[in-house]
């Protein structure tokens, strides 16, 4: 996913003279081709994220479209004020590409886990927040990013993620995509983002074997949230289950709850699945942390089946 993302920046830069790449000490060899072919618009800067974001703002004020890449937590936590004031207040077309979204960097510990990035970026006016599910969808996003007028935070996943997106579904920033459609109403609606869409799709297959039907609605764009699509699918569902690789506070599930609550209509119950309100206490792999948080497909299916059965039981009483 990251390679596709960076390669697409390179090709966009060849097509459009406004495109600039800025990295913050990304490691040897990263974007070497662009460094060779477009050295004037390639910047490998030091480990100073506040400066890099401010610098990108200055370039954007004068007509360029900077794509800034470094580790997600350093962009979102460390440079937060520059993102808020230099980018969002000025409504500048800067793209922040965060490596290691969620718990990708599990072995590196809590300093490197981007588990609050949705919350931090989502709260900022004018910010767009995107987490695609796979490399193919990343390519579509990057093409769509070129002329988006506002700043975008793009969360990167681990890489090598299973391809679940489909060309025929198209791609537009801010538009959710139905990845799996339930045959009947009274089903479970999975609202998902990032690579958790892939986990939810696998969970949906397990649930189908148990006779529990579900729709998987993939929100590659966390903000602006596609409220219309959410309401359309939620009104037919018996429950909404949100799945995210993020703290349960302030993230994607919170956004879904807010949107449903604001409708002031009878909406189905919502169960949010995500990371609990604590710093990670284990290392291991991304899947180890996801498993400890109940976010592997079999666990999502199990939790959802219990929820579904409880709803059916409640309806019988």
């Amino acid at each position: 996913m990251r390679k596709v993302c960076l390669d697409t920046i390179h090709s966009l830069a060849h097509r459009d003279p406004r495109v600039v790449f800025i990295g913050s000490d990304l490691g040897a060899g990263v974007m070497d081709e662009m460094k060779q072919s477009l050295p004037g618009r390639f910047f490998m800067e030091g480990i100073y994220e506040a400066n890099v974001v401010g610098m990108a703002a200055g370039m954007a004020m004068d007509g360029f479209i900077p794509y800034v890449n470094t580790i997600a937590t350093f962009l979102t936590r460390r440079a937060f004020e520059q993102v808020a004031l230099d980018l969002c207040l000025h409504r500048l077309p800067v793209r922040l590409i965060g490596n290691g979204g969620g718990v990708v960097y599990a072995p590196l510990g809590p300093t490197h886990l981007a588990v609050d990035d949705f919350a931090l970026m989502r709260v900022l006016p004018n910010m767009t927040v995107v987490a695609v599910s796979d490399a193919d969808e990343m390519r579509r996003l990057m093409e769509a990013s070129l002329d988006w007028p506002d700043p975008i935070y793009i969360r990167l996943a681990k890489g090598g993620d299973k391809i679940v997106s489909c060309e025929d579904d198209g791609f537009a920033i801010g538009k959710a995509i139905v990845r799996r459609r339930a045959a009947t109403s009274g089903h479970i609606l999975f609202a998902t983002t990032g690579v958790m869409t892939t986990h939810a799709l696998a969970a949906a297959e397990s649930l189908a074997a148990l006779g529990i039907d579900s729709t998987v609605l993939h929100f590659h764009t966390v903000k602006p949230l596609d409220v219309d699509a959410l309401l359309e699918h939620a009104k037919e569902a018996c429950a909404v289950v949100t799945v995210e690789e993020h703290s349960l506070i302030g993230g994607f599930g919170s956004a879904i709850l807010e949107a449903l609550s604001d409708q002031l209509l009878n909406m189905p119950p919502v169960k949010r699945l995500g990371l609990s309100d604590e710093f990670a206490s284990i290392y291991g792999s991304q899947n180890d942390v996801l498993e400890a948080s109940g976010l592997m497909p079999v666990q999502i299916a199990d939790t959802t089946a219990r929820l579904f059965n409880a709803i059916i039981e409640g309806a019988r009483r």
């Binding site: 506040a50 400066n51 401010g54 610098m55 703002a57 200055g58 370039m59 230099d86």
Partner: protein, 269 residues
């Protein structure tokens, strides 16, 4: 250093803003007047009737709390009518307590939180280089402001890129909100610090219009510049000079305004 009639009149515009809003930063604005006056009068290539002229030089007031000085200069140059100062900080005013780009003609970047102007200016200077434009970028920072880490991040980066279209002007009035910079966070040896970051360093009396003009029109080439402008906080209003109590004032009444204007007139005399 005596102040000429224009220096007094520009300061009276600052007082007009304070009177309009009933509040504001006086000391940090009055130390800045000559720095901005020389920039806008003699150094910047700019067109007040076409503020977004692409070929213009950029000036960012990074110490955004000194905005009344910037507003005075922009009004004086014709970017907007001086009457706007009468609405300073009022509900639907164009001019707020910190400058905002997009709202105020001539303001390049919204500032207020300190330490933002230098990285933004750096990006503008690199943008000019990429676009092959001759635009220069001037960033005005406060002395207290350079406590911020992002200032030194940008200084490292400007040195790396040898940005000779990038000039930082330090309003070195030697007093921050809580007292003397020497007590709160001593900056000395200041010239050595900037030189070691790859800047050409010039020191100048920041109220001497002739010296400022000479300095800013003959900056050394080949590397980024910093001009350390030695100034007096509250310059021109005797009771506010070097007085941290006048860093920011709320509840400014008619008598305060009268006293400030009287002090300016007697300074002139």
């Amino acid at each position: 250093m005596p102040l000429d009639e224009r220096a007094i009149n520009l300061r009276k515009l600052v007082v007009r803003g304070l009177a309009g809003g009933g509040r504001g930063h006086l000391g940090p604005a009055l130390s800045l007047i000559e720095i901005l006056r020389v920039l806008y009068d003699d150094v910047l290539r700019h067109q007040p009737d076409n503020p977004r002229w692409p070929e213009r030089d950029r000036c960012i007031l990074s110490k955004g709390h000194g905005c009344l000085a910037l507003y005075a200069l922009l009004a004086d140059q014709g970017y907007f009518p001086t009457e706007a100062l009468d609405d300073f900080c009022k509900r639907n005013a164009m001019l707020g307590g910190h400058p905002e780009a997009g709202k105020i003609p001539g303001v390049e970047a919204s500032t207020g939180s300190l330490g933002h102007g230098m990285p933004i200016g750096l990006g503008m200077a690199l943008a000019a280089r990429m676009a092959g434009r001759g635009s220069k970028v001037f960033v005005v920072v406060g002395d207290g402001e350079i406590n911020e880490g992002s200032v030194w991040e940008a200084a490292l980066c400007a040195g790396k890129h040898a940005l000779d279209n990038y000039t930082v002007l330090i309003d070195y009035n030697k007093i921050q909100a809580s007292g003397p910079t020497a007590d709160i966070q001593d900056l000395e040896p200041l010239t050595d610090k900037w030189r070691s970051f790859g800047f050409a360093v010039t020191e100048v009396n920041g109220h001497d219009v002739v010296a400022l003009r000479r300095t800013l029109t003959s900056l050394p080439a080949g590397k980024p510049n910093v001009v350390i402008c030695h100034t007096v906080k509250g310059k021109g209003v005797s009771f506010a000079e070097n007085n941290p109590d006048w860093h920011h004032k709320a509840k400014i009444g008619e008598k305060d305004v009268f006293d400030m204007l009287s002090a300016l007139d007697s300074y002139h005399a």
